[in-house]
Amino acid sequence: MPRGRLHEVYAGEAWDVGAAAGFAVAQALAAGATPLLWLRLDRGAVAAGRLHATGLAELGLAPDRLLLVTVADAGALLRVAGDAARCAGIGTLLLESWGPMPALDLTATRRLVLAAEASGVTVVSLRLGAEPVPSAAATRWQVSARPSVPLEADAPGQPAFVVECLRRRGGPAGARTQVEWNRETRSFRDPEVELASQPPFQPASPPLAGAGLPLAAGGAAARDPAAPVRARR
């Protein structure tokens, strides 16, 4: 996800909410685009629960780089989003919306795109419980949870996601990759690769083309939207 653009992240199924939100935060961290302003509706706190900064800190987002704004309705959401997207001091605006949002149409998203391009703020629209609709976003992703690589005693491991690129402006889409988030290196890696035996994921080296190239932080492919995307499967 290049910076200063609008990206959309959809939750694959109703209960992939945590995965979609975690992927959006991980993206912001991988791009180094903090502070993060998390904008959500009051409704979201009922449906998905309130934000837990301790858990976000364990993904790598320091709590003092996080600002939470809650609004009552869609109109206020868009107004605040417009203001925040114009403020160059924040790195990422995470716009969490719940269910179908008719207000978030082509016009509204185009406005956000213009604001983001002018200020350099990355706007991530996190659409939970919604079906993909046309918008002016640069990329659109569908994220669902992936069974993690188990730790000892069959314990759940690092967060892992199945990510499908539904749309990419000026480039091919349809890639489907599996990624695992690594908090220490602030990067994604392929969960299939054995953890210990492999060096950290190198975005520029061609042999590792399957490992989610378009997602890498500052990688060559990430800057060039027209780069060919190859999926592992």
Binding site: W15, A19, H52, T54, A57, V80, G89, I90, A145, P159
Partner: protein, 503 residues
């Protein structure tokens, strides 16, 4: 004591006669001991002294009434008395905990002499039930020592100082005791010794104290400086009936107030506009900022946000005949340099955004997280308004172990959501399957239990069951934080709840 009398007069309905009410003491807790900090006259007559432990005092005077000692409120009370004393002299300086110093040079003619002035002070304070002891002196130290310590009667000021006990020098307890052990009972006897000997034995501070009481040296008096509130207003011969004009006037007034603040090296945190309508109605607008500011453009934007957010729009009616801008809370703000390449830093921009959103949506909607010292998950963090100053002693966030997966969810349900049809091993196995939100989840991986007990040191009427937390992952890979409320044996058939969602 006098503060108590003013704030809780019902304690003194039985009159001031010491015999009629029990002695009163103020206690403070230092370390593990609760000690008396101050006493009323009845208490001292009963043989109690400050510094005594409360248990000892209660043993001697069982009917002792006890109140917590609050030095902050005492200083506040003294400040208020100092405010009142500004009627006698422009230079009033409070000497905490219990003294006020008035420089009355050149002020006594308004009261026909210093005796009448002192009588007036006594009369006014007696009306509030305050006991006063006053003294006049050539220097501040002499007056202070004479007022605080009783010496033998003397014909003149110099003589009175000489007859004061050595404690009036204001040295620490050890030095005072050493002087008394050396046979020096009064200040006069100390003054009679060579000063060099006192300086050699007790340090330069002691010698300075002696010279000050002798009137040879003076300590600087720190007069209380009360800053005038910043307030600018404009009156109109013809009422202003259009909102746009009123806004223009507000912008001008804010500019004037900002200039006043700039001269004082201050910035306003809380700005207030009051619009007085010609029919008597008064409308108020208030803006708060996270950082002190005096930028008229920024404030103009904030006031515009405020007016937009009003439930019913500003109605000038027949017009405003007075508009006033005041700075209710000002803080120090020195001029600062912009970044070399121009523009403000990231912090300034975010701060401005926070102020704007707080003004529009309300402070409670723009928030930041702060850690809190608790192991109960839902109490381990605070969500505070971002416009408010951060807590003075923030708790530390838990450090994540390298290589460990996240152990806490990113979304936390409040309250936790109940799940049913749980199949789990007794006594503390993870659930194998459960139904949550009408979906059956088959658990593929689980870790736990992480046992979190209630905070037993807090008082609860009913015991709080222990929670056993499990990180579980279902066959589709969705990771949940689930807990059993109560151990088997602790409660009958414990219930299960989903408490959060992991990434």
């Amino acid at each position: 004591m006098e503060r108590l009398r003013a704030t809780r007069p019902h304690l003194f309905v039985r009159g001031d006669d010491p015999a009629s009410h029990p002695p009163i003491a103020f206690v403070e807790t230092a370390g593990n001991a609760t000690r008396l900090a101050a006493l009323d006259r009845a208490g001292i007559e009963a043989g109690l002294r400050p510094g005594l432990t409360l248990a000892d005092a209660r043993a001697r005077v069982p009917e002792l009434e006890v109140f917590p000692h609050d030095p902050g409120a005492d200083v506040d009370w003294l400040e208020r008395l100092a405010d009142g004393c500004s009627r006698y002299s422009p230079t009033v300086s409070p000497l905490p905990p219990d003294a006020l110093l008035l420089d009355i040079a050149g002020c006594t003619h308004a009261f026909e002499g210093e005796r009448f002035l002192a009588a007036d002070v006594e009369r006014r304070l007696a009306r509030r039930g305050v006991l006063v002891r006053h003294a006049f002196g050539d220097t501040a130290e002499i007056a202070h020592a004479l007022a605080r310590y009783a010496g033998a009667p003397a014909p003149d000021e110099r003589g009175a100082v000489k007859r004061l006990p050595v404690a009036a020098l204001g040295l620490d307890a050890e030095d005072t005791a050493a002087l008394q052990a050396a046979g020096l009972k009064t200040v006069g006897e100390v003054m009679a010794r060579p000063l060099s000997g006192i300086a050699a034995r007790f340090g330069e501070g002691a010698a300075t104290a002696v010279r000050r009481l002798a009137g040879e040296a003076q300590a600087p008096v720190r007069a209380r400086a009360v800053a005038d509130p910043v307030r600018v207003e404009r009156r109109f011969a013809e009422p202003v009936a259009r909102t746009e004009h009123a806004l223009g006037v507000i912008a001008e007034l804010v500019g004037e107030a900002a200039e006043m603040l700039e001269r004082r090296h201050e910035g306003g945190r809380r700005w207030q506009v009051r619009l007085f309508r010609s029919d008597g109605a008064v409308q108020g607008l208030r803006v708060e900022t996270g950082q002190p500011t005096r930028d008229p453009q920024l404030l103009g934007r904030l006031f515009a946000e405020r007016i937009d957010a009003l439930a019913d729009p500003l109605d000038p009616g027949f017009g405003y005949d007075l508009i006033r801008v005041e700075v209710a809370l000002a803080e120090r703000l020195d001029a600062h340099q912009l970044k070399l390449e121009g523009g403000e830093g990231e912090k300034g921009q975010v701060g401005e955004l926070v102020d704007r959103l707080s003004t529009r949506l309300g402070r409670g909607r723009v928030r930041r997280f702060a850690a809190r010292d608790s192991h109960i998950p839902e109490q381990a963090e605070l969500i505070l308004p971002a416009a408010a100053p951060p807590p003075a002693t923030p708790a530390a966030w838990p450090e994540a172990e390298p290589g460990e997966p996240p152990l806490r969810p990113i979304y936390l349900f409040d309250p936790p959501e109940a799940v049913d049809q749980v199949i789990a091993e007794v006594p503390d196995g993870p659930p194998a399957r459960f139904r949550w939100r009408r979906t059956l989840h088959e658990v593929a991986r689980a870790e736990g239990p992480e046992r979190i007990a209630g905070e037993w040191w807090r008082r609860h009427d009913t015991p709080v069951p222990t929670r056993d937390y499990y990180r579980v992952e279902d066959r589709r890979g969705r990771r949940l934080w689930i807990f059993r409320h109560g151990l088997f044996g602790e409660v009958e058939s414990p219930r299960w709840y989903v408490h959060g969602l992991f990434a």
